[in-house]
Symmetry: C2
Subunit: 464 residues, 2 copies
């Protein structure tokens, strides 16, 4: 970057809109877990769409690469400037532009933190259902750019499903105003879809019109013991019918995982009398005051399960959820583990678990399977703890080998090697193994079409 | 087309896969209402994806244009070969490839008739909710290519929302296999979105993986009298809360429309004692046996309405629906009418109706507004009957002038000039008036990227 380009970019971003202070830049080039390390000499922090547009126009003209960044909470390195790119932080674009209570829509800027989006919806008497662990620092722009998943997908869909309109700045600085709040619009190609889940490689999302929903008024939660993942899949269908599709969470837990939680997390207890090889945590919510507890009791009484308890209080509900939510932490305290963010069709989960577990154990005898998570979405945290009393570092050294084994089985089942975290740099070079040349070629064509100079998050998602 | 190209295309389509018989071609080049007329000397009817691929490879190589066609039920001329293009009918690709009951998915070929898709889902004990007037002849490929709407959008979304995966043949004959049945998949750009709603201009959809839902077990239906569209919008929010979001239909009817129905359709009667300026037909369904009637009664008792009756029997429910479903027919029997397929944000419906009606009446005094339809989606059939005892032909001669007036008001409210029917040729040349140059430019770039020789449904949707 020439001194002249640098000066133009600083002027475009405004006096409060840039920093070349290494201390201020540092948290933007380092991933929060310390897994990915980048470097940059310039942080741009535009506060308006016009400033973003001016910045990108200069970058495009001067072949200067940028890495768009929201809350820097991504898990696959997509938001890290590995090659000294400018960091384009959307954090100052954090305004709530409009709420339409009657139409159940809200228009927000990309830098608004997800928890603030949720709060603004709540204050309007409505629900914005996207919810995930990083919601206190992740931004809605990042959520949309990565098509985030989270804990409410079964009921409300992925981030893509929650968008009515977008405002996007193209690589050449033109603003694409697609901020419509319509439920029905068939006036040509649906351009907003191009940018959702593109990880900032095709354009920079600056604002979004979001769908809102009625707030839940009642909630039912059950902790269920059952013999197998197959019984869990059958139970999912039964519970969806019993509640008319109101199931909001359907999480599977293995006995081995529950035992890690009971061993490592103070204050936890097994809700059921006898041990069981598998458990499901199931929850339904409704804005209407239906008797969901009664629907749960009736459905569970007829289901092929070993035992079940429906939460009789919010305290008991919280205790059930603690077993699920502390499972990652318990696994961490137990020692080294190898993890996967994969999905398969829901009906294939039982066979997938059997085959993938066998394949990993053949390669790494003694590895301890602790697979749990969003079985309702077909999305399993397919994790293994190191063998009991084994060498954790030696186990972790086999991560790529184990991942290859798992991803190959995932692929055999028509599954996805990235259910919700995206591609970034982490899985970019795995795509040719699992996608057709035609699919990769269309991806490359899209990248070249919308970013012909390759200035937007270069090297992420797709190799040119 | 040279004789050699013709021979190659016939060979690619197989002995049963082509026709050059004008009598057989005729129904494929004429729109069913007789509004659009095309011509063609060759109908290709491939039965497999491989045959479609072979045909397009030849077309691309020889610069031969094709018009993909499903059930030929489109309303905007998108499926008509205006310039003698080959008609590429998907009708023989009508197989059900797979049903996965546990995963609630079904994989079907593009030429399967929508009613047959619904029936196959029903036989699997599930619901495919896409439903529209032409479902007995429209094909699922056409529904997806036009992102069809219909009567269940409020609850289940547009056709786009019902798709998990697609199989598409690209312009150059390559097959894009995106037939995944996953609920979560973040492995790069979501390519299937490119082809949904693209009206066959970017690729030919040959198969789709669809989402299925639990079948409704209970249903509540009410016919409500209220003072204004504003009261209807308020009622929508209340009814959604009362049912936890289970409202499946929310249709507005004006008194003038009801009177046309009562006058022209034998066997209809006004369900309520006193006349009211507006009515709403509201329905909720659930797969769970919730007491929806009680929820309706309680919500309606507290709502700002004039009167209401909840259907006590299926016969009464059918009588309510007949009032809505015969309104187009009643308007037709009354004489000439000018119609619009438009949407605005739900909250803007009352002001839109006021302003757009005033604007039309200023231009055409005496025109009789009969606006009705999917107010829950913001999608109104914004229709006018000719002035009482006026000259119908003279009224219809002003269609384009009236449409311009209406579309301008729609645009002022951030609305859509094609809520569900698409663009085709009918509204193509209106797009530059209502879309930004940046948006049109990205549309043109997409067309050039995926169909560089402009062989796929040329001239439809976007002018190059």
């Amino acid at each position: 970057m020439t001194p002249e380009t640098l000066a133009r970019l600083k002027a475009a971003a405004g006096p409060k809109g840039f920093s070349d202070d290494p201390a201020e830049i540092a948290p933007h080039v380092e991933e929060w877990r310390g897994k990915y390390h980048g470097h940059s000499t310039l942080l741009l922090k535009p506060a308006t769409t016009e400033e973003v547009a001016a910045i990108l126009a200069i970058c495009n003209e001067t072949n200067t690469a940028v890495v768009p960044q929201g809350g820097n909470t991504g898990l696959v390195g997509g938001q890290i400037p590995f090659d000294g790119e400018i960091v384009l932080s959307l954090a100052r674009m954090n305004r709530l532009r409009a709420v339409d209570r009657a139409a159940h829509t809200m228009t927000v800027e990309a830098g608004m933190i997800l928890a603030h989006v949720q709060k603004a919806a709540d204050e309007a008497g409505l629900l914005f259902p996207l919810s995930l662990a990083a919601e206190g620092s992740a931004t809605i722009g990042g959520n949309l750019s990565t098509n985030a998943g989270g804990v409410a997908v079964l009921r409300y869909g992925m981030a893509r499903d929650l968008v009515l309109g977008l405002e996007v700045v193209l690589a050449d600085g033109r603003v694409l105003d697609l901020l419509r709040t319509l439920r029905k619009d068939n006036t040509g190609y649906d351009l907003k879809q191009l940018f959702i889940g593109a990880e900032g490689t095709l354009g920079v999302i600056t604002a979004a019109a979001l769908k809102l929903f009625p707030k839940p008024a009642v909630r039912a939660t059950a902790f269920v013991a059952l013999a197998s993942p197959a019984a869990a899949v059958a139970l999912l269908g039964r519970m969806q019918e019993a509640t008319g599709g109101l199931i909001s969470a359907f999480e599977i837990l293995p006995r081995a995982g529950l035992e890690l939680v009971l061993a490592h997390i103070p204050g936890t207890r097994d809700p059921l009398a006898a041990p069981s090889p598998w458990y499901v945590l199931v929850e339904a919510t409704s804005a209407a005051r239906f008797d969901l507890d009664a629907a749960f009791e009736a459905a569970l009484a007829e289901a092929d399960i070993a035992d079940a308890v429906v939460a009789a209080s919010d305290a008991q509900r919280a205790a059930f959820w603690a077993l699920r939510e502390t499972m990652s932490e318990a696994q961490k305290r137990e020692g080294a583990s190898i993890k996967h963010d994969v999905s398969v069709p829901v009906s294939a989960i039982p066979d997938f678990l059997t085959q993938a577990t066998a394949a990993v154990l053949k390669a790494v005898p003694g590895a301890r399977p602790v697979s749990f998570g969003h079985i309702g979405d077909g999305n399993i945290h397919f994790n293994f703890s190191a063998p009991k009393d084994g060498d954790g570092a030696a186990f972790l050294a086999r991560w790529e080998e184990v991942q290859r084994i798992v991803h190959d089985v995932v692929h055999d089942f028509g599954g996805s090697i990235s259910a919700e975290h995206g591609i970034g740099v982490q899985k970019r070079d795995q795509l040719p193994r699992y996608k057709s040349e035609a699919e990769l070629d269309v991806m490359r064509m899209m990248k070249r079409m919308l970013d012909p100079r390759n200035i937007l998050n270069p090297g992420k998602v797709i190799a040119l």
